[in-house]
Amino acid sequence: MTSSNGNGSARPLVLLCECAGTLTNIDFDRLEQHAGLHADVIRGTHWCSRVGQAQMLELMDTGAKGGPRGENGRQLVFAGCSADFAARRFQKLLARGLQLEIADIREGCSWVHGDDVDAVTDKAARVIDSSIAYPDAPADTMSYAERHDTVVVVGGGVAGTQAAAELAQMGHHVELVERRPFLGGRAARIGTVFPTNDCGQCLPTTDAQAGTRKCFHRNVAIDHPDLSIHRRSTVEAVTGHPGDFQVSIRTLPNIVTDACINCGTCETVCEVESSEPGKKAIFTEFYDGRVIRTVDLETCTFCGKCAGECPVEAIDFAQSPKRTTVQAGAILTATGCEPAPEKYFDYLGYGHDGVVTQVELTDMLDDWTAQASLGRMPVEELVMIQCAGSRDQRHLPHCSRLCCMIALKHAIRLKTLFPAMKVTICYLEMRTAGVGYENWFLDARRAGVEFLRGTPPEVQFDAAGRPVIEVEDVTAARKRVLRPDLVVLSTGMVPAEGTDKLAQTLAVDHDKDGFIEILDRKNRATETSGEGIFVCGSAAGPKALIEVNTEASAVASEIHNFLTSAGRRGTAATRVDASQCVGCDTCTARCPFNAITLVDRPEWEARPEEVKDDGKLAVIDAESCRACGICAANCPEVAIAHNLSDDALFGRIATMTQGVDKPVVGFYCKECAGAAIGLAGQRRDKYPESVRLIELPCLGRVSALHIVEAARLGAAGVFLAGCAEGRCQYRTGDTSALEQMTIAEEVLADGGAPLPLELWHLCAVDRMSVGRRIRMFHARAVGDEFSEALVEHEMELIGATAAAGAGCPGGEPCGCHR
């Protein structure tokens, strides 16, 4: 039965599986005979049994490792269960290097069709033919030897510093870039924080230190030899590609050197007021233990008085700005957020003596002298206004997430310090979602804080300058007039200054509020749209410290994985055929991963005739490419070669539809739609044999040409199934497919032969409904929509009690009215 020649024969070997007799509607004799026309066939009742796997191992030992013809010896085609199922059953053999091309005649054929043995056997034969003739591309393992083991961390707040320290402890070299002279960021400067009600200036300790956390100035984790800190520094430019970035960093001088002993002489002799109130041009701020003092370069007159008086000669005005370039494998953006500027909340009377923000209240709570700057003291009545400028289409549309808890924290603190003070919180919604947060809400209520549902449109002032707030008490259904001594605005947060510029430099996306956009809201919260560029903390949206700390640790492991992994991709990167590329920007604009760039076409590179010498050429970065095929589907010159080539795709369509009357062709991505369709097969949800499915890496791979080709070959209808709405695993595959489908629709309509075309969004939960959806689409496509037999069958499936309604019977949200 086996082929006698084992030395890399061109003739493939089909391992035909009867699946222990469960594929009752297939005539295996006829199938074996058919497959035998193009290949050698070994038939087994149950290839995944112990005996079957032993036989496979034997085949491997005799040189048949599978893979495409001519590469690893013989091509091995396994005709049986689906690729997903086979991958689990033959896991150990696959791990040992077995390469199987899967022809799914079980979930994709026998189990989902009826008792018409001839028709089902025909289809199984087509599936096997297609797998023999047009196999998947070989797995591609990419070597990442060139990845620099260095991470540039932008932002030295708690998020950046903690991630930097952890990465250094994992053995990577870290360059920490902080714009300000001091580390610690906002958290270290804002007094107490929730939910712990202590200060925010600590980091987790290393093993070498006692306790669980230490202040910045006492924490030795930051002193790791592999962690170098650039203060007063910004990232100016980034070139290169993932694994090999060249990051150019500009550093302003600190003037005060490490020799400083913090005696303060300089500050007493300095005569220049800094732009920040109450500070001299030479000043100290948050003590992070490494830099003690610094000079405000904007206001300093460089008179040199301080340098002359300094007892340890720690002031050196001769320093100048410098530029360093770092080779890095990965970049982490941890630039954080900052309080919204005044323009977002000045409509609430800000600027008047009696109105402050929560940030300013923090200072007042920590430093009693700050109170003196306020008009009406002592405060007897205080009103906090939540969502000041937030959740507001005209100001900041997003929820800043922190403000509710900050208000609770301050309200409780105020009630503790001044039990007689009347504290009212005007709120829109109290958002206290977090471990233990709800207790703060209850504690505040117990402490006597009044909660008033309703937000005022303005803060007015009476003749004495006292704030007057007219507000609807929504829950009590009345109007109230409040006359507090002090109004505190809970203002929102915006991305830290310069975030947009940094995003531009790094070529990563930001969301509509300006924060760095994360790759996937559910599963990849610390990655950005740029491969090798990560994000953590409030740079991706305002977050509480508890989440920031968690994310810092998470991103450190994520970066560690990135720098040390052998590669994420099993399939080859897409390539551009220089002899076809005309250098338009379609692919660069389309690529969801910014993997394609237009470069000046090298002299030696091939070019199409119409391209002049200075023409551009698209180049795909193999590391960033995720092989979705969106570029290939959209290239107007068909100049991009995806590992699933157009020839193979056309071949698969032709093979699968050959000899079928009114076939319905379904293209589906092997990601979420593949899961839904595969699981529906496991449920044996039946649909007609004339439905022919073509698997794609991503739905974005499909182009109008493929749809038109299916129509040309006689398809009665074409459906496209991709991942859940807005959840394409390659970000924009479904939108690309929709556009291509629209083009095909127009082309077919122009040609006078319109065809039912639909695009579906599926995920694994749709396993319950996708069978019905396919049946209904098939019925519509072949004109059988309202036939009695069909309606009766559907009614039977959903239970006789259901009312017979025409059209879509789906209980699940159904995309049939696209």
Binding site: C387, R391, D392, Q393, R394, H395, L428, E429, R453, G454, T455, P456, P457, E458, Q460, D462, A463, V468, E470, V471, E472, D473, V474, A477, R478, K479
Partner: protein
């Protein structure tokens, strides 16, 4: 019972329009900022938020029956403060439109009629003379139900329109201008006041040309306003309620006081004089607050009178009227009148309705405060050297 189930009683057009409005305000947070800002609801708890909530809940009946619709002066404050950029004022406008087209009996006039009949179920008579007469003249209430028995009838006969001739043109100077004037319902009912308005206008060299039947300005469900004037040019009014209603039916209405003050400011031969040295300004809820205050301010400046202001007076407050009928002093009117009493200055208002209501409130609060309508306080005098008349 007004529930979602009541929608079937309404024509499809109403249901569709509600669906559209529901879409428009579907993102409402119910933050209450609109109601907080609503001048009409400052004292009496009212405002757009509740209406929006009822739209979202599908309670068509409750929305269309709501008095709040007719209390809206289209000042647009709610729209300008809405954090979700919902055009709340436009939604209320659409609702009024809807009510007129598919109308129950909920517009202001009919609400007032409702108030009157309900009142009569509990009490033998309506004591508020002007209100009573208005109701009688429109046929909602029998004549013997107003005032104190015969005395009431006698007064009422005088007040009913049609009896007395219109104020004459005797005081008009030669170069007088003629302005189209819409007197509305309240002013002609008070013959004295009616005369004062014409007289004061004449002093400014202005002849007021009225349409034959002022009728009811509005909530122009009656549809008479369209036919009042030959052209839809601007019309001068003496009542902010008329301004709002005429504006809603597309006629440009200008407060007469603004025009007169401006005329005096321009002319060298006319100057304004005030019948007191200082006064407390009050513009009420219906008028365009900023414009009305500015006009009062200009008048004060030209006449040399001093405005005594404090927080309550500078804001649209509530004089105490609800559904057109005085229902007792409110916090706002009490605050205002107490302030005026302390200042020993009269209250001057641009709203004829406020005048009556504040006078009632002053009586109720036993405060010795005079309340004047604009023309009762300000007059024009020909500019002559050092000549000041004590009026």
């Amino acid at each position: 019972m007004a529930a979602i189930a009541d929608t079937h009683e309404y024509p499809q057009a109403v249901v569709d329009e509600f669906e559209r409005l529901k879409q428009e305000c579907s993102i409402c947070y119910q933050c209450g900022t609109c109601t907080s800002s609503c001048p009409s609801g400052r004292e009496l708890y009212r405002g757009p938020r509740r209406i929006v909530r009822l739209i979202l809940a599908g309670e068509i009946e409750a929305v269309l029956k709501s008095d709040d619709l007719w209390r809206c002066t289209e000042c647009g404050t709610c729209t300008s403060v809405c954090r979700m950029d919902i055009d709340v004022a436009a939604i209320l406008h659409s609702l009024r439109q809807l009510e007129r087209e598919h109308g129950g009996l909920h517009c202001a006039e009919r609400t007032a009629a409702d108030v009157a009949t309900t009142h009569l179920k509990k009490r033998p008579r309506i004591d508020n003379m002007r209100f009573g007469v208005a109701m009688v003249s429109r046929g909602y209430v029998p004549k013997d139900k107003i005032g104190a028995a015969e005395m009431g009838m006698k007064l009422a006969r005088q007040m009913l329109p049609g009896g007395k001739k219109r104020p004459g043109d005797e005081a008009l100077p030669a170069d007088a201008v003629t302005l189209p004037f819409y007197a509305g319902c309240a002013i002609p009912q008070d013959h004295e006041l009616y005369a004062v308005v014409h007289e004061v206008a004449a002093g400014f060299g202005v002849r007021l040309e009225e349409s034959a039947d002022p009728g009811c300005c509005g909530h122009p469900s009656r549809g008479t306003v369209d036919s009042l004037f030959a052209s839809r040019e601007r019309v001068y009014t003496a009542c902010p309620a008329c301004d709002a209603s005429l504006a809603e039916s597309g006629i440009e209405a200008v407060p007469l006081w603004d025009a007169l003050t401006e005329r005096a400011g321009r002319s060298s031969s006319i100057s304004l004089t005030a019948s007191g040295e200082r006064f407390v300004p009050y513009v009420g809820c219906l008028a365009d607050r900023d414009a009305a205050l500015a006009a009062l301010g200009d008048a004060a400046e030209q006449s040399g009178a001093e405005m005594a202001v404090d927080y309550p007076t500078l804001h649209n407050g509530c004089c105490g009227a609800l559904g057109g009928m005085y229902r007792g002093a409110t916090k706002s009117s009490a605050r205002l009148l107490e302030f005026a009493a302390r200042q020993q200055a009269p209250v001057v208002t641009t709203c004829v309705l406020c005048r009556d209501n504040l006078r009632s409130a002053a009586r109720e609060l036993k405060l010795d405060v005079h309340v004047h309508f604009w023309p009762e306080f300000f007059r024009a005098v020909p500019t002559a050297p050092e000549e000041r008349t004590d009026d």
